[in-house]
Amino acid sequence: MIRLSEKYQGLAELTLERRTDGQLWASGDDWAKPVRVHRCFPWSEPGRFLSLRDDDGEVALVGGLDELDDPSRRVLESAIAEAGFVLEVTRIMNVEEEVEIRTWEVETRQGPRIFQTRLDDWPTTVPGGGIVIRDVAGDLYHVADPTGLDGKSRKWLWAFVD
């Protein structure tokens, strides 16, 4: 179900488009405004419960992608892909400990990267599968299938997965 926020209730269907100014616009029959998409459950329900918001609050809560018309859905899909972007780790080259921080050297689907985590910050398992490592700056590194990595990567990761 698409639940428009109270202010917009009684208005026609919601459509979404990416306008030339680069922003995501939500519109009804006599209103239109740029919105940002927030996923309510980024890990457990990535494609459902999408909150479209502007600076004043929620404009609409989209229950699922299939509730939108085709063009809007495609626009929203790409918007959530962007909002939900994380670095996808494909190989682990090195993990080194120092005082208070641990340095990871990895290959991601997006390119090579070196990052640090705090020593007592452990990777967490995510409902959708795999583990997520959060670095000191807040970037997330997703290892979708820890058991499917090559032997050396698995060895580096061994101490961090159950």
């Binding site: 030339t20 962007e82 939900g84 452990w122 807040g138 101490a159």
Partner: protein, 772 residues
């Protein structure tokens, strides 16, 4: 000078810990400045994601009147600029005056910043970047947004700002990054320098212990070869033999006496010495902690700071008192033993000595191997303690929701899990050590095997090995094991000590963010005039919590700060007391920038009463006169009376001597609040800050506190934050804060006259509540 080194450290951190350049490449900068007709880049940030969300290297640059994005034409670069051959850059630029708005769309790891021009026209630019670049991008955005609001912000050195923002998260996790292990160890040892005499004495004693330990086995061998056998063979007379034998017994006694005397000196001096160093470190740490700014405390966990002062210094004591000496003397011992064995009989000696490095190495390797197990066990152990620190303080909630069983189950599961890990560790070391000892004993057996034929001799030849030498040998071999263990674990010992030292030095090396200028101004007395001029501020350098706040408050005015929570009210008061420094703009007291004032002196003139009053462990009296330990009992009572606290204090069994604070007598929220008001009254500040001082108490208590506060505010400049507008009936003016801006200000009546105003709405709501 100081700044310079900070910047150098930032750059080193970026180079060492990230794979991105420590500054904008010259070629990219030239490309941008070329496109701007030679005007310089003022600020820049790395843009590390391309449109397809792949890691990339592009640069967002801000100039006096332009914004540019420098990209490699191919669009296929990796973020490693330095070793890339392709150094051509293309700059896409747009004039700052065309910018109308900037929108940031934050994501899990990828953020998008859109520079908007005229509505419905294509965006001027869109850039995507990971969180690591966020602070640097935010610097650029801040300047641009300030300009959109008509303010200009001076920018500092572009390279410094960039390196500082990229290095910041790493520095926050570990301020001493880029410190070398050797240097840390050296610095730690330098603390011994103050006690040079004791150190030398301890080392000499330890050397003597090592030296004389080598004597008894040698004496045993000598006794057998030179006394027992000659006497048994009749070569030596029994009398002579007895004399020599007694001499040797006496020598043994002397050896042991000397050895234990040295042991006493060594243990005592070094243990005491270690304590002194630990004491020096603790004092230095605590002193330094007092100097650090609040920002430091919001970044570090209290527990971790306490550990540094307590267990880390304790571990250093252990290392300095015993580790250093043990390690160096074990090395000496191993060498001494080897030398003795080889000189006694080089063939047998080789059998024993050659495997020793191998054993040490395998102990070291074993330690390395165990490390992974330890990390895993530590991770699981923290899952156990997490539950404890979660549920014990939250026990009321657990019980209220009847979740005891589930919590027990959760705990058991993790407990079993961690036990498995520990047992894995036990399995590993319980296998390793017996196997290693087997190998050691195998060498002993080998010594026997080699020695036997030579001991008995060929049928017609003299034995080439004497019984005495053999006995000495056997006694020496048992002495190998101890030092070997120490040497094998030396890497680990040193690492543990340097880790502790590192953690201690990290605190010592953190510079307070708030520092007084060399000759600070002292306002005597402070009148109490407070002015904000275009103040912007953010705690983390990413999000602006205050944006362009301006106001002027006359001495003696009472200002009510109202508005939704998170609006920035507490932050305003934090800036008045200079707990933090502004990002842009100026905070002035009596017309003088707070950064020019003597901070200690300023804070003595400011009184703060918080919603959650903090009482220290100590008596009520101690708490009331916390700022003025010399205050007389009369003044304490006077203050308590003014705070409406006297009556309840007197009713306590121990009156003013009642111990409060953690583990002390339980006072109710309202009572604690009145004690803290008494503290503020005694302090007699010129500027008073009341941060939701009455939000957490019932109406009756509030009336009590209110009365006390009315006495307290008289004749001072007051900033009172409150949610119940009725609390602020005395305020001369009200400031409404919302989303970091001062949105309305004026008297109660003036604000109510704005029907659409935030204040009028808030007031309307509260009236409804009061009536309904």
């Amino acid at each position: 000078m100081e700044r310079e080194t900070q910047n150098a450290i930032d750059r080193r951190i970026v180079e060492r810990y990230t794979d991105q350049p420590a500054r904008m490449p010259v070629a990219a900068r030239e490309a941008v400045e070329g496109a701007w007709g030679g005007r310089p880049v003022q600020l820049y940030a790395l843009i590390d994601l391309d449109a397809g969300m792949r890691l990339d290297e592009a640069w967002l640059a801000l100039g006096e009147s332009q914004v540019a994005i420098a990209r490699r034409p191919t669009q296929r670069g990796t973020p490693r600029a330095s070793d890339s051959v392709d150094e051509t850059w293309e700059a896409q630029t747009f004039p700052r005056e065309r910018l109308q708005a900037i929108r940031e769309t934050p994501g899990l790891s990828g953020n998008t910043l859109t520079f908007l021009g005229v509505p419905d026209e294509p965006a001027l630019a869109v850039v995507r970047y990971t969180h690591r670049q966020r602070r640097a991008v935010e610097n650029v955005r801040f300047v641009l947004e300030q300009e959109l609001e008509g303010r200009s912000v001076p920018t500092g050195d572009a390279d410094d700002a960039y390196a500082a923002s990229v290095a910041a998260p790493i520095r926050e996790a570990q301020a001493l990054v880029a410190g070398k292990q050797g240097a840390v160890l050296w610095r730690l040892l330098s603390y011994l320098g103050r006690y040079r005499g004791q150190v030398i004495l301890g080392f000499v004693a330890a050397t003597i212990i090592t030296g004389v330990s080598l004597v008894p086995p040698w004496l045993a061998g000598y006794l057998i070869d030179e006394v027992v056998r000659p006497v048994q063979d009749g070569v030596m007379s029994v009398e002579d033999g007895t004399t020599v034998a007694w001499l040797m017994v006496a020598a043994m006694a002397v050896v042991y006496l000397v050895r234990q005397a040295s042991a006493l000196i060594r243990l005592r001096y070094l243990a005491i010495l270690g304590e002194w160093v630990a004491r020096d470190l603790r004092t230095e740490l605590y002193e330094h902690l007092q100097r650090l700014s609040l920002g430091f405390y919001s970044r570090k966990k209290t527990g971790s700071l306490i550990t540094r002062v307590s267990s880390d210094t304790d571990r250093l004591w252990d290392f300095l008192a015993f580790g250093v000496v043990d390690a160096s003397l074990s090395a000496v011992m191993l060498m001494g033993l080897s030398a003795v064995l080889l000189s006694l009989d080089w063939k047998l000696g080789l059998v024993m000595v050659v495997p020793v490095p191998l054993f040490c190495w395998s102990i070291y390797k074993h330690g390395e191997h165990m490390n992974r197990f330890f990390i895993r066990a530590w991770r699981k152990w923290s899952r156990v303690t997490d539950i404890l620190s979660d549920t014990i303080p939250g026990m009321r909630v657990v019980k209220a929701f009847n979740q005891e069983e589930r919590e027990t189950g959760r705990f058991n599961e993790r407990n079993v899990d961690v036990t498995d890990e520990f047992n894995r560790i036990h399995q590993s070391w319980t296998t390793f050590w017996p196997v290693l000892m087997l190998a050691v004993h195998a060498t002993t057996v080998a010594v026997w095997a080699f020695a036997m034929p030579r001991l008995l001799g060929e049928p017609n030849a003299e034995p080439s090995l004497s019984a005495g030498t053999f006995v000495s040998f056997l006694l020496y071999t048992t002495m190998f094991i101890g030092p070997m263990e120490v040497i094998g674990q030396i890497a680990r010992t040193v690492q543990r000590a340097t880790t502790s030292a590192h953690r201690v030095f990290e605190v010592l090396d953190t510079e307070p963010e708030i520092v007084d200028r060399p000759d600070p101004v002292r306002l005597e007395p402070i009148e109490g005039q407070v002015a904000f001029e275009d103040v912007s501020f953010g705690y983390d350098g990413v999000r602006q919590v205050l944006r362009g706040v301006s106001f002027a408050v006359k001495p003696g005015e009472m200002i009510g700060l109202v508005g939704p929570s998170g609006g920035g009210k507490t932050t305003v008061t934090n800036l008045i007391a200079r707990f933090y420094d502004v990002t842009a703009g100026r905070v002035a007291i009596d017309g003088v920038d707070v950064r020019e004032l003597d901070t200690g002196h300023l804070r003595r003139q400011i009184g703060i009463v918080l919603q959650e009053p903090y009482l220290f462990h100590g008596s009520v009296t101690d708490n009331i006169r916390y700022g003025h330990p010399e205050a007389t009992p009369e003044r304490v009572i006077e203050a308590a009376k003014a705070a409406n606290a006297h009556d309840f204090i007197v009713k306590l069994p121990l009156g003013y001597d009642t111990i409060v604070g953690e583990r002390g007598q339980n006072l109710s929220g309202g009572e604690r609040q009145r004690v803290s008001i008494a503290r503020a009254i005694l302090h007699d500040p010129r500027i008073l800050i009341l941060d939701e001082a009455t939000s957490a108490v019932d109406t009756e208590t509030e009336r009590n506190i209110q009365e006390a506060m009315d006495r307290l505010v008289a004749g001072r400049t007051v900033f009172a934050i409150a949610h119940r507008l009725s609390t602020l009936h005395k305020a001369s003016r009200l400031f409404v804060m919302k989303e970091g801006r001062l949105v309305e200000s004026g008297t109660h009546e003036e604000l109510l006259a704005e029907p659409d105003g935030v204040y009028a709405k808030l007031h309307g709501l509260q009236m409804q509540l009061a009536v309904g």
